[in-house]
């Protein structure tokens, strides 16, 4: 049952990912991208990671996509700009294919060596995913968590400097 569900989701994910790059209209592409994000969120749910799923939907499918769509609409892309560049498609597909094979090979070969983490699905159901993540974030990964604040600050300053009309 789960496998069947997985296969269906995967099919949707792949098709919508293809649509992202093949659609002529950027809005359609963006919408296809949202679809892909949703499929990824589904994977997280299946992997007992509901928090990640929620974040995926809220941040990527929600916030980031809204930004992208806004940008597309604001820029008001004309028809000539919507023309797809078709050169290097062959090269791209070859590289993509090999990357895929490579990745598949890696995943299949190293199945055995995967160590189990300290958290089990049981624990997640008992304590809640969000709390476990929060706990890790404020204990083991406290410092990296704090560093992200600096990272965001730097990014904001950068955005202001590069984009503001007059400094």
């Amino acid at each position: 049952m789960e496998t069947l569900f997985f296969l269906i989701i995967t099919l949707v994910a792949i098709v919508s990912a293809l649509l992202v790059v093949t659609c002529k209209n950027p809005i359609n592409s963006a919408l296809a991208l949202v679809m892909t994000f949703f499929c990824l969120a589904t994977y997280y749910v299946m992997l007992d990671a509901p928090f990640m799923a929620a974040v995926q939907v809220m941040v990527y499918a929600g916030a980031i996509m809204v930004l992208i769509v806004f940008t597309i609409m604001l820029l008001n892309i004309r028809v000539d700009a919507t023309k797809r560049h078709s050169h290097k498609v062959v090269l791209g597909s070859i590289i993509g294919f090999f990357t895929l094979v490579n990745t598949a090979f890696i995943i299949m070969r190293s199945r055995v060596a995967m160590p189990n983490g300290p958290l089990t699905g049981e624990m997640i159901r008992q304590q809640g995913h969000t709390e476990l993540i929060g706990r890790e974030m404020f204990t083991t990964f406290l410092l990296p968590f704090e560093i992200t604040s600096i990272l965001l600050l730097v990014a904001i300053i950068g955005a202001v400097i590069l984009a503001k009309k007059k400094l």
């Binding site: 890696i106 190293s110 060596a113 410092l143 990296p144 560093i147 950068g158 400097i161």
Partner: protein, 485 residues
């Protein structure tokens, strides 16, 4: 549900980082109240701040102190690199003012961004967790993207910023993927734990996920240190970025990349050394050769130094390929001396240049030798050091790196390195030929040398010559720094 107990954290190891972050934020606020045209004061404050941070860092020399449950450490290795970062930042700040004033982009945000870059680099060197290292790298990179495009009125600078951003994000993707795979293979991001788990594996190289993780991390860092074949961004970015930032970028972040590489590969993955040292062998040869051969044909001096900086990354990779204590200490020493000689050379370029990035070719050095003798002598010292001619720090550094390769038995690597070094002499000499043996094509007013840039030149010359003549003290520090690794 029990409360989360935040583990006791010892702030001392990250005191310099905290200090610099707070200073940077304070400068952002102060900036608002300083009228444009007087932004130099921010530079002075940040320079003093960098010196103070240097004192804080220096106080940490000694036994290692861990903190944040093993995310970060204060050890001699990190301390040595932090000093390099602070030196590069300090020198960059000193040479920024005059240039930015001339190019009309002396915005106050420059200095906080430089300080944030340093914070990022410090976290990369001190991080003992892949997450810390990654976030440090991101802080550094994001700040650098902005610094590369800082001269907004200049199209080339814009291009540099954008190009650096795109390729940098791309490389970050590689790095993160590599880290994720490593995490998948070992179940932890702590470097010490990775080492323990990989050490227990009977044949670590058979664990394809781990190997793939290693390769991707190597690729990611190779982008950051500008190693061939991942160097394509370097020339355009170095040429387009404001010159002081080019100087900074070629010294500090390169060293930071090496710091993280060394820690991850030598501490976490020593059991895979046979595999990665062969890879690095190839990488080193490619990097040196591509850098030097391409530099031979450059007329634009910033571009020439960009390619030469690729070549220098190659020399450092020689020591990395050797992967022994000598090699690691050699990299430390080399990065330190490279900081001085390269930023020094860029300082001279700033003084030669004119508004709008004009006067940036080798030919523009014509006649410098007799118009500005002191400046030309300083430039000669830097160039001789870059070429690795004694008695300069560059020579001792190369001596160190090539000995490590010979020690390891990589004779051919050393031979290729030496031949490259001989080839590089040509393009460094070319600048000198113009300085001393050609007449200037046009007569123009020389830029006034302001005190900060003079100070930076003085420091750079001292830092290039003194370790070349009496290297013992610094060599000892470098060797102590790598002892723990």
């Amino acid at each position: 549900m029990d409360m989360i107990t935040i583990p006791a954290v010892n702030m001392t190891p990250i005191l310099p980082e905290i200090f610099l972050s707070v200073l940077a934020m304070a400068l952002l606020l102060i900036n608002v109240f300083i009228p444009s045209g007087q932004k130099s004061y921010l530079g002075y404050i940040s320079f003093v701040g960098v010196v103070a941070a240097g004192v804080l860092v220096g106080a940490g020399w000694g036994a290692p102190v861990e903190s944040f449950s093993g995310s970060v450490v204060q050890d001699n290795f990190a301390t040595f690199f932090k000093i390099i970062f602070l030196l590069s930042a300090g020198l960059a700040i000193l040479i920024s003012d005059q240039y930015m004033e001339r190019e009309g982009c002396n915005h106050g945000e420059l200095y906080p961004l430089i300080l944030f870059t340093v914070v990022g680099m410090m976290l990369m060197a001190a991080g003992t967790d892949l997450m810390t290292i990654f976030l440090g790298l991101e802080v550094m990179s994001v700040a650098l993207y902005v610094l590369a495009g800082f001269n907004r009125a200049n199209l080339k600078s814009n291009e540099a910023g954008l190009k650096y951003f795109l390729l940098g994000s791309f490389s970050t993707g590689f790095l993160l993927y590599g880290m994720a795979l490593t995490y998948g293979a070992t179940g932890t991001t702590r470097i010490a734990k990775i080492a323990a788990i990989v050490g227990q594996m009977t044949v670590p190289s058979a664990n394809i996920m781990l190997v793939a993780g290693m390769l991707l991390m190597l690729t990611g860092f190779a982008f950051k240190v500008a190693a061939a074949p991942f160097h394509m961004w370097t020339p355009d970015v170095y040429e387009g970025a404001p010159t002081p930032m080019t100087a900074f970028m070629s010294a500090g972040p390169k060293a930071a990349g090496f710091a993280a590489l060394l820690r991850i590969f030598l501490v976490a993955l020593p059991t895979l050394q046979v595999e990665w040292s062969q890879l690095l062998w190839v990488l080193a040869v490619l990097t040196m050769t591509v850098g030097n051969i391409t530099a031979l044909r450059q007329d634009n001096i910033k571009r020439m130094l960009a390619y030469s900086s690729i070549a220098h990354a190659g020399y450092a990779l020689v020591g990395f390929a050797a992967g022994n204590g000598t090699g690691a200490a050699g990299i430390l020493f080399y990065m330190l001396s490279y900081t001085f000689m390269n930023i020094g050379a860029f300082a001279v370029i700033i003084l030669i240049g004119k508004k709008g990035e004009a006067n940036g070719t080798v030919m523009d050095f014509a006649g410098l030798g007799f118009k500005q003798p002191a400046l030309a002598v300083a430039m000669s010292v830097f160039l001789f050091s870059l070429a690795g001619i004694p008695p300069t720090a560059g020579f001792i550094g190369k001596f160190y790196l090539f000995s490590s390769a010979v020690q390891k038995g990589y004779i051919w690597l050393a031979v290729i390195g030496v031949l490259n070094s001989a080839a590089s002499v040509y393009y460094y000499l070319r600048v000198m030929v113009y300085m001393y043996m050609k007449e200037p094509t046009e007569d123009f007013e020389w830029t006034r040398i302001t005190p900060p840039i003079a100070l930076s030149l003085l420091i750079s010359v001292a830092g290039t010559l003194i370790p070349g003549i009496v290297p013992s003290v610094i060599l000892q520090f470098a060797e102590q720094a790598v002892k723990l690794i």
